[in-house]
C-alpha cells in the first residue's frame, strides 16, 4: 500500500534517486532523505514496535531524540541495531529491518503484552518474579531476557575500520543552527581556531526546517552562504555528521564522526566512524531545543508526531506523513505547522488548541480550549476524538496528528559535569543553571532564547565573549534579520483522566505508571526513573522526562522545579562500541611485544605463550613429538646433561647509575647491597611497604656507581615505577639515575654442564671464563664474536652451571643463531618457558606463583635476608607479629608418596588423619611439574610451620575434581641441594 506523500520543494536532490528496502519491500527516495523521511514519502508510517507492550509505532520526531522508529540497518557483519530511522541518511541500496517484532511488523505476537497491560505495570518484574527463588535464574530471567531487548546483532565480525583522533581548537561550536552558525562566523572571521560540529548531515538546524525563519533571505540560502564562507576559512573545521556526545574535564569533548554511514560501504581504507577527542579552550553549546509531546489517551499511534517534526518533514524533506493532518497544541508555534502543510495542499481538518484564547488561523478551524481525549487506528492513526470547550465530543478523521506541548532547551552537554538545570517560568522549561563544565557557554534555544532572532544574536555575542576571554579581539558577524515573535504558550502536559497516555514512548511509561509510582511512594525523580524505567531507554528520555516530572508535580502538589530536575549523562546519543574501540580490536587489542629472536624461534616451530604483552617460546617441538611433555622433558634432560639456551630478554632490566647507586639499592631491596664488590651479582628480594614479598631478581655491579637490576617479566613496569617513586619521593637527595633498558638488551640463559665450553667458542679470547677468574655470581662487560660488546652474568635459575649473556637488541637474533651454531657439537638445545619452569621447580626457586602477593620473605624461607641493620622498603612492617608466627607458612617441596601420582597445582594440604575442611587447612601447592630427572611429579607449596615438618605425609586434596594424593614434605631443592653444579 505505497502512497505518494512526497511534496514540492525541500532540500532533496531529485536528480539522484536512491533505492532502498524496508522489511524486504523496495522503495525509492532521494539524496538528502533520511530513512524516515523516505518511508513517510512512500506512505509508510509504521516503523517499529515499542519495548514492552509491542505497540505499533511510527516516527515521533525528525531528529536524534527519536524514541520510536528504531530499525536494524544493513546486514551481516555490518548489521547495526537500534538505529534511529530519523537520522539514518539514505543511500542507494540501504537495507533496513524493523525490530522487536515477530513474525512481522504488522503481526507481532508479543503485542499480546498490550492486552495484559494492567498486569505489566511499573515494578511488574520486581513484584511478580519473587518466588520461588530458584525459578529466577533458571526460568524467569531467560524468558524475560528473550522477550526484552530491541534490535539484534549477527555476531559476525564487523569488517569496517573505526578510528580515533585528536583535535585542538580555541572555540568548539556544538550545533550548526542559527546560534552556532552566527558564533562560528564571528569566531572564524576573528581568526580563531574554530570547530563547528553538528550531528546532522546538513548544517542549519531549524533554519532549514522552517519557512520564513529569516525575513530577507530563505533560511536554507543563508545556511548555504554561511557554510561556503566557513569552508573557505583555513582556521575553521566544519564537521557535519559529528555528534559531540560528552563534555569531559578541562574542556575536553568526545565526538563521533560518521565518516561513512551514509555510504553502502566505506571507501577502501577509510574508517566508518571516528571518535574525536577535542581539546577546546572554550566550547559553545548551541544544541537548540527539543519539542515535547502531550500525554493523552493512545497518543502513540503511528502518524502521531511532534508538530515541529511534521513541519521539518514537509519543509526540508518534502514529505508528509499523511494527506490529512490535525494539529494539537498549547502554543502558537505549532500553528505554523498547519500553515506550512496547507501551503503544500495538505488538508488540516482542525487545530485543537488547549488555550481558550488561541489565535485564529486562516484556512482551518481552531478548536479553542479543546483537548484530544482518544485516538483510533491499529497500525496507523485513522481518527482523533476531541473534547470541545463546550463539553461535546467530536471525531476528526485524519491520518496524522501534529502535536506540541512546547519546546525544551536541549541541555544534554550542560549537565555532564553535575550542572543542575534551573526552571525558567517564562518559557516553562528548564534552562542551563550553574555548574557548567569549565569553559562552556550556552547560546540560542539551548539557553532558552526561543526565537531565531535571539538565537542568531546570542550565538554571535557568545563567540565574542568567549574569544575575549582568550584575548582574541572579535566583532559580531553581520547577521540576517529574523522577526519571529516569542512563542506564546500556556503549559499543558497531559489530558486529565488519561491513563494509557504515553510519556516515555520507547520504554512504554504512561501517565498511569507515574501515578502508580506516586501511589507507592516512589516520588523522588531518581526513584521514579528507576521504578518505571522512565528515561532509561536509548533516547535517555529526551522527549519524556519533563512530561513525567509535570505529572508527578501535579500528583504531589508541588511545582515542577520543586519536584526535581532532569540530568543527562554522556553519551548524548548512543555511540557504537566499534567506534569506542577504534583500532584496538583483534590482534591490535593490545600491543604485542616480540623478542629479537622471535623470528628464529618461529623457524624452529616454537609454540608461543602470551606473557603480558610478550610472546615467549613455550617449547620447541621436534619431529615425532606428539605431546608437549615429550618436548619439555627432552629440553630439560638435554640442558641438564649438556647445554640449553633460553631467551630471557623479557625480564625487566633497569640500569641504576650514580654515586649513591649502592645506597639506593640498599633502600629498595630487603637484603644488603652496599658491600657487593664490582664484578659480582647478588640475588635481591624486594618487599612492599607492608612487608609482603613483591619481586625478586638480580643486581649486578658493573662499576662502583653502576648496577644492572633485573625484575620478573610481569613486574618490569611496576618495579620501575616503584623505584622511581623511591628515588624521587623518598630519596630525593640521592645522586642516582634510573632507566629501563628492558628493550635495549637481548638476553639469553646458557645453562648446563657444557655451557662454559659453548660460551668460550663465542666470547672473545681475552676474556677468561674459567671458574677461578669468573666464578659463580661473577659479572662483567665483555665482547663476543670479535668485538661486539656484551654483558655476561654467571647466574643460574635452572640450578646448572649457567650464564646469562646480553647483547644490544639488534644483535639478539644473530647471537641466538650463533649460539645454536656453536652449540651443535654439544647438541645444544633451545628450551622454552615450560622447561624453564620445570627446572626452577626442581631447583626450588620461587617465581610468580610463590611471590603471589600474600607471602613474606619468612614464608619463602628468605626471612634472614631481610636486614635489620638498615632501612629498606617493607622492613618495619615485615616484623609485625602476625607475619612472624611459629606456624607461618613455609615454602617446601612436595613429592607424591606413590611416584605414579601427580601433584595437582592449586590443591590444598590436609593432615594425614583429620578432617578435610578449610578450618584444618595446612597449606597449598603453588607450582607443580613432572620432573624428568626424578621421574616423578613434584611440587612447591606453602605448609604451616613447614620447615620443621620434613618427612611428614599430608593429604593433598582438590575437592573440585575429587582428587586426593598422599604427599611427603621434602626440601624445596630437589636437584643439587648443595649447589655444587652451579659452582662447578
Amino acid at each position: 500500500m505505497t502512497r505518494n506523500n512526497r511534496l514540492k520543494g525541500g532540500l532533496i536532490n531529485r536528480d539522484t534517486s536512491l533505492n532502498f528496502t524496508f522489511d524486504g519491500n523496495s522503495y525509492s527516495g532521494f539524496e538528502g532523505d533520511t530513512l524516515a523521511s523516505a518511508l513517510l514519502a512512500n506512505g509508510v508510517r509504521l516503523m517499529g514496535r515499542s519495548f514492552k507492550y509491542h505497540r505499533p509505532r511510527g516516527p515521533l520526531t525528525a531528529g536524534s531524540e527519536e524514541p520510536n522508529a528504531l530499525v536494524e540497518l544493513r546486514s551481516g557483519g555490518r548489521q547495526e541495531p537500534n538505529t534511529r530511522a530519523t537520522v539514518a541518511e539514505l543511500y542507494d541500496g540501504l537495507d533496513a529491518k524493523s525490530q522487536n517484532r515477530w513474525p512481522s511488523l504488522e503481526r507481532d505476537v508479543m503485542a499480546i503484552n498490550d492486552r495484559f497491560s494492567n498486569f505489566l505495570t511499573a515494578g511488574f518484574y520486581y513484584k511478580t518474579f519473587m518466588w520461588p527463588k530458584a525459578f529466577w535464574e533458571k526460568l524467569y530471567e531467560p524468558i524475560i531476557r528473550k522477550a526484552a531487548g530491541l534490535g539484534s546483532l549477527t555476531g559476525e565480525d564487523d569488517p569496517d575500520l573505526y578510528d580515533k583522533g585528536f583535535l585542538h581548537c580555541d572555540l568548539l561550536v556544538i550545533g550548526a543552527g542559527p546560534a552556532g552558525l552566527a558564533a562560528a562566523l564571528t569566531a572564524g572571521r576573528a581568526g580563531a581556531q574554530v570547530i563547528l560540529a553538528d550531528e546532522d548531515f546538513h548544517l542549519g538546524g531549524r533554519l532549514i526546517a522552517e519557512t520564513g525563519a529569516l525575513t530577507d533571505i530563505s533560511g536554507a540560502d543563508w545556511v548555504t552562504q554561511a557554510q561556503a564562507e566557513l569552508a573557505s576559512m583555513d582556521n575553521v573545521r566544519l564537521m557535519p555528521r559529528t555528534t559531540v556526545f560528552g563534555a569531559y574535564d578541562h574542556g575536553i569533548y568526545g565526538a563521533v564522526e560518521r565518516n561513512a554511514d551514509h555510504l553502502a560501504v566505506p571507501t577502501e581504507g577509510k574508517p566508518r566512524q571516528t571518535v574525536w577527542r577535542i581539546y577546546s579552550k572554550r566550547a559553545l553549546v548551541a544544541t537548540g531545543a527539543i519539542e515535547r509531546p502531550i500525554a493523552f489517551e493512545n497518543n502513540d499511534r503511528p502518524g502521531i508526531m511532534l508538530a515541529g517534526a511534521v513541519r521539518a518533514y514537509a519543509n526540508r524533506w518534502a514529505a508528509t506523513p499523511a494527506q490529512s493532518v490535525v494539529v494539537f497544541a498549547n502554543n502558537d508555534d505549532a500553528h505554523q505547522t498547519a500553515r506550512d502543510l496547507m501551503a503544500q495542499g495538505i488538508k488540516v481538518p482542525a487545530i485543537v488548541d488547549t488555550r481558550a484564547d488561541a489565535p485564529d488561523v486562516e484556512g482551518t478551524e481552531v478548536l479553542k480550549g479543546a483537548e484530544i481525549i482518544n485516538t483510533s487506528g491499529r497500525l496507523g492513526l485513522t481518527s482523533v476524538q476531541v473534547q470541545l470547550a463546550e463539553g461535546y465530543t467530536r471525531d476528526l478523521y485524519c491520518e496524522a496528528l501534529a502535536m506540541s506541548g512546547g519546546w525544551n532547551p536541549n541541555l544534554g552537554l550542560t549537565c555532564h559535569q553535575r550542572g543542575r538545570p534551573i526552571w525558567n517560568a517564562d518559557i516553562h522549561a528548564f534552562v542551563p543553571g550553574d555548574g557548567l563544565p569549565v569553559g562552556q557557554i550556552v547560546a540560542g534555544a539551548a539557553n532558552g532564547e526561543m526565537t531565531t532572532d535571539a538565537a542568531l544574536k546570542s550565538g554571535a555575542a557568545a563567540a565574542v565573549s568567549a574569544l575575549d576571554d582568550l584575548g582574541i579581539p572579535a566583532t559580531q558577524a553581520e547577521l540576517p534579520t529574523a522577526k519571529d515573535a516569542p512563542v506564546s504558550l500556556s503549559p499543558f502536559w497531559h489530558v486529565k483522566g488519561a491513563k494509557r497516555a504515553w510519556l516515555d514512548y520507547q520504554n512504554d511509561v504512561t501517565v498511569k505508571d507515574v501515578k502508580l509510582a506516586h501511589q507507592e511512594n516512589f516520588i523522588s525523580v531518581e526513584h521514579l526513573k528507576r521504578y518505571t524505567t522512565l528515561g532509561m531507554a536509548t533516547d535517555q528520555g529526551k522527549t519524556s522526562n519533563i512530561g513525567a516530572l509535570a505529572v508527578m508535580a501535579e500528583l504531589t502538589g508541588k511545582s515542577i522545579p520543586e519536584t526535581g530536575s532532569t540530568i543527562f549523562r554522556p553519551p548524548y546519543t548512543p555511540v557504537s562500541m566499534g567506534a569506542l574501540a577504534g583500532r584496538a580490536v583483534g590482534r591490535d587489542f593490545h600491543p604485542t611485544r616480540l623478542t629479537p629472536s622471535h623470528k628464529w624461534a618461529e623457524e624452529q616451530d616454537a609454540v608461543f605463550v602470551e606473557v603480558g604483552n610478550w610472546m615467549r617460546a613455550q617449547w620447541f617441538p621436534r619431529k615425532g613429538e606428539i605431546h608437549w611433555r615429550q618436548s619439555v622433558d627432552r629440553e630439560v634432560l638435554q640442558t641438564r646433561s649438556s647445554v640449553g639456551v633460553c631467551d630471557v630478554t623479557t625480564l625487566g632490566k633497569i640500569d641504576v647509575q650514580g654515586a649513591n647507586a649502592a645506597a639506593f639499592l640498599n633502600k629498595i631491596y630487603a637484603n644488603g647491597f652496599a658491600k657487593l664488590p664490582v664484578g659480582k651479582v647478588r640475588y635481591g628480594l624486594m618487599l612492599r611497604e607492608d612487608g609482603v614479598a613483591y619481586d625478586d631478581g638480580t643486581a649486578a655491579r658493573l662499576a662502583e656507581d653502576h648496577f644492572v637490576v633485573t625484575t620478573t617479566t610481569a613486574n618490569a613496569v611496576l618495579v620501575y615505577r616503584n623505584m622511581e617513586f623511591v628515588r624521587q619521593c623518598l630519596c630525593p637527595e640521592m645522586d642516582v639515575q634510573l632507566i629501563s633498558t628492558t628493550e635495549a638488551w637481548a638476553q639469553y640463559a646458557v645453562a648446563g654442564p657444557n655451557s662454559r665450553k659453548l660460551l668460550q667458542k663465542i666470547v672473545d679470547p681475552e676474556f677468561d671464563l674459567s671458574n677461578e677468574v669468573f666464578p659463580f655470581m661473577a659479572c662483567g662487560e665483555i665482547t663476543v664474536c670479535g668485538g661486539l660488546r656484551a654483558r655476561l652474568f654467571r647466574i643460574s635459575f635452572s640450578g646448572e652451571l649457567a650464564y646469562e649473556i646480553a647483547v644490544p637488541t639488534r644483535y639478539g637474533d644473530a647471537l641466538m643463531r650463533k649460539l645454536m651454531e656453536a652449540g651443535e657439537e654439544f647438541d645444544a638445545v633451545p628450551y622454552g618457558t615450560e622447561a624453564l619452569g620445570v627446572m626452577r621447580i626442581e631447583k626450588g626457586h620461587a617465581a610468580g606463583n610463590e611471590l603471589n602477593g600474600t607471602t613474606s620473605a619468612l614464608n619463602l624461607g628468605l626471612g634472614r635476608m631481610v636486614s635489620t641493620k638498615k632501612d629498606c622498603i617493607g622492613n618495619v612492617l615485615s616484623r609485625r607479629e602476625g607475619m612472624n608466627t611459629p606456624d607461618a607458612l613455609a615454602l617446601v617441596g612436595l613429592k607424591p608418596v606413590d611416584a605414579k601420582d601427580a601433584v595437582p597445582a592449586g590443591g590444598h594440604l590436609m593432615n594425614k588423619d583429620g578432617p578435610i575442611d578449610a578450618a584444618h587447612d595446612q597449606g597449598y601447592v603453588t607450582s607443580a611439574a613432572y620432573s624428568p630427572i626424578l621421574n616423578s611429579s613434584i611440587g612447591l607449596g606453602f605448609v604451616k610451620g613447614g620447615f620443621d615438618r620434613k618427612g611428614e605425609h599430608l593429604r593433598l586434596v582438590n575437592p573440585l575434581e575429587g582428587q586426593e594424593v598422599l604427599v611427603e614434605i621434602v626440601s624445596a631443592h630437589f636437584v643439587d641441594p648443595e649447589g655444587e653444579k652451579l659452582r662447578a
Binding site: 578541562h250 622511581e724 617513586f725 624521587q728 619521593c729 622492613n875 618495619v876
Partner: protein, 98 residues
C-alpha cells in the same frame, strides 16, 4: 583531564598513572620508637576529601617524573602541579630544621 607538567607543559592525564595521597612522600623514620605504628598509619590511613587533595601522579608515558598534583576531587580543577622531588626535598629540609 589535562595536567600542566612543570617541565613539559599541558599533558593529557592519559599519559599518567595515578598513585594517590601525596602524604606517601612523608615516610616515617624506621628507627623511631613507635615505628610500627607510624608505618601502619603511613600505609593504611588516608584522608579521602571531597575537595582539595594533594596526590601523586607518575608521568609514565612521558619523562617519568612523579608529580604532586593538587586537585579538587569534586570539580577536577587542578590548582597546582609540582615536581614530587622538589616537594620531597622541601619536606626533608623542614624535618632536619626541626
Amino acid at each position: 583531564m589535562i595536567i600542566n607538567h612543570p617541565l613539559l607543559g599541558p599533558r593529557d592525564a592519559q599519559e599518567f598513572t595515578y598513585l594517590g595521597d601525596a602524604t606517601l612522600i612523608n615516610r616515617p623514620d624506621w628507627q623511631s620508637d613507635n615505628a610500627a605504628q607510624a608505618f601502619h598509619d603511613y600505609l593504611y590511613l588516608r584522608d579521602n576529601p571531597a575537595g582539595e587533595h594533594r596526590e601523586l601522579w607518575f608521568h609514565e608515558q612521558g619523562d617519568r617524573s612523579w608529580l604532586v598534583v593538587t586537585r579538587n576531587t569534586v570539580t577536577h580543577e587542578i590548582l597546582s602541579v609540582e615536581m614530587a622531588r622538589d616537594v620531597a626535598k622541601a619536606a626533608a629540609a623542614e624535618r632536619s630544621a626541626q
